[in-house]
Amino acid sequence: MNVNLRIWRQPGPNAPGRLVDYSLDEIDPSQSFLEMLDKLNEKLIHEGQEPVAFESDCREGICGNCGLVINGIAHGPKGACTTCEVRMRQFNSGDTITVEPFRAKAFPLIKDLVVNRSAFDRIMSKGGFVAVNTGSAQDANLIPIHKDDAERAMDAAACIGCGACVAACPNASASLFVGAKVSQFTWLPQGQVERHTRVLKMVKQMDSEGFGDCSNHAECEAACPKEISISNIGRMRREYTKAVFAAV
């Protein structure tokens, strides 16, 4: 099969960027989207051009490194998968595919399709953990945890920190990411001690990173490769409200 590509090229954070047209043929439908881009890059290199900068690592949907906006949809049109899991089979020969980076002020662009998502790390540093030093833990089975609670915690913990929620959100809000982390610890007994401070600090950091506010479009959930539910955003708001009242 062959496709026409329109790919965002931007040499650096301050340089102007634009969509550049490429066409590529002899694509194997079994190829992943990223392997298709690899092929394009190989072609560009042979033609003496700079390859398209994009990121990936595990290429199986778990590390959260890859992330492109394909035809206006973060991680592509299929849903419930990461960019690296998108297969060319999902497109038709002759399609025009537009590829853009995740766009958000809080994710400054580095080059072409590569952005900086350190804002997520800074949010995590404010409370995405249980403050327990190595060696100070008691036996793991000392606190039973209801199976359902453990499952719910796991549902929320499945977030891979890819940032697609931000990219997909019309407001570039990080509420789903933060909501998921807050929820994970809300379900677990280990998370109770820092319950209030955690949500207050993480929300504060989220706000100061320049993410937009949430308008409940729920586009994040639809784009999320791990199908993290927006009920986690609701839970974050409840937790936040409780924390505020606990503080007063």
Binding site: Q31, C58, G64, R87
Partner: protein, 641 residues
Amino acid sequence: MSAKKTLDAKIPPGPVTEKWTQHKFNMKLVNPANKRKHTVIVVGTGLAGASAAASLGELGYNVLNFCIQDSPRRAHSVAAQGGINAAKNYQNDGDSVYRLFYDTVKGGDFRAREANVHRLAEVSVSIIDQCVAQGVPFAREYGGMLSNRSFGGAQVSRTFYARGQTGQQLLLGAYGALMRQVEEGKVKLFPRREMLDLVKVNDVARGIICRNLVTGELERYAADAVLLCTGGYSTVFYLSTNAVNCNATAAWRCYKRGAYFANPCFTQIHPTCIPRFGETQSKLTLMSESLRNDGRVWVPKRKGDDRKPSEIPETERDYFLEAKYPAFGNLVPRDIASRNAQEVCQEGRGVGPTGYAVYLDFGEAIQRLGKDVIAQRYGNLFAMYHEITGDDPYETPMMIYPAPHYTMGGLWVDYNLMTTVNGLFALGEANFSDHGANRLGASALMQGLADGYFVIPYTLGNYLATTKLDPVTTESPEFDAVAAEVQAGVDKLMSIKGKTTADEIHRELGNIMIDEVGMSRHEKGLNRALEEIPRIREKFWNDLCIPGDAKDYNKELEKAGRVADFLELGELMARDALERKESCGGHFRLESQDSEGEAKRDDENFTHVAAWRFRGEDKVPERCVEALEYENVKPSQRSYK
């Protein structure tokens, strides 16, 4: 024996069950006020790196932590699916620290160091406690207790898991702890940095040179010790189950600075991966081994039989594992399943577009158990397979093929995890220490966390407390010299301006590696590899093409640097495989098999670790040995017939 030099692993005296306890007591401590005067470099943020950096930060050391990804949470450990072992014996099924120790030594085919393995089994228990306290959402039973599953090579249920995302959850636990230390100011994080060299001052590791992967600048960092937690090197095969950025660069550059590389030929090939479909594939995807519980492995009896699987009658199918290993059938260990699949494909009986695949057929299981039961057991794996290949495994047999998965070899370390370079430690998959010639499932995560949480905080303290270290700055002549060399290396790569991409050369290397240094090895093939690899290396240095600028975000330059190192490491792997004339664990020498075609160890000549010493470019490295002693577990030959 060709060995000239023997290595001292500094194993503490006493019975194996007491060694670690005694050693912990005997080691010197750094007093709290002094800890904050020490700076430690931790390269890598996988389970090993993140757990080490966080724990050292908690103790009060100043930690500089590096990784190549944009966030520590994306280290390759995140991809581990199956689970993590621990000798908790929560199932009351007869597990114990000693049994885990025993299983690991046996699983490693008697090529692992007993003392290390016992320590690993001891601390495995604390790992689970620690992770649960961090909020890792392990699977639970209805009563609220932790759930376990059994995993290859063990007769007990000791594997803890968090859905199919155990590695991710463990890493997020460690990453959380790490980020907490970042917030406290004890750990400074340097993402998007690639360590390109080690700086030694007075023969002691005192710093590293990194390339900032965004700006392309070379950066210098000084410290009192350097911890290498940079993972394994399966990507030397190009196609593997590892993440595409996995590399051997940091370890390899340390090797060139004097750290011995141990057992490079010990690699693990995982039998149940989705086969490759063609040339442009970048990555192989692992599917859970549990598939072999119900799936039957077969190929057509006739060579080049390209009928559809459904058109091949029972009588013309060869269920080769069941035929050859009636007792274990499709459930033989990883290496045996992998090797047999390769053999039938090399006979020309492989299936699929490339001829390098075998069927894993659920037809009979679906008939016997019903589609619902199969869907319940393997639904998500079937869906994943369907997604990737476009084939529906309920309708047509799956195709699988073995893929490189894990490397047991790595930098040689003593009992304290220190390499042969003073002050340079190696943790996690980057070292060679605990798995011998074959790693059991769910033991890599355990080892990474054991090293980082529970071993290095003690042994590093001992090192710092007992070593006199003069202050160093990054402006010292030693730093200048190494930085200049690294710069020259980058310039050299950039100046080739040829026509071949790093990936193309990497693929070429990968083909040789998998053919000759893959599942089964023999003298002729290894010699071919030793001839071919230098040829590819020459092509690399004459015809490599890197577009763009070195002082910029430049993925091609990153790749090229890694491929350059793989081209040397691959040769060492072949050399190591050639010298180890026995079969053991993942290393199968065709010349060394018993009458039934099974791996035959040569304990008399090879009960040792082979650690290679770099002697200069274009010089054959020296093979040194560390003799292994088995005082507790008596070596025996494996049999799965």
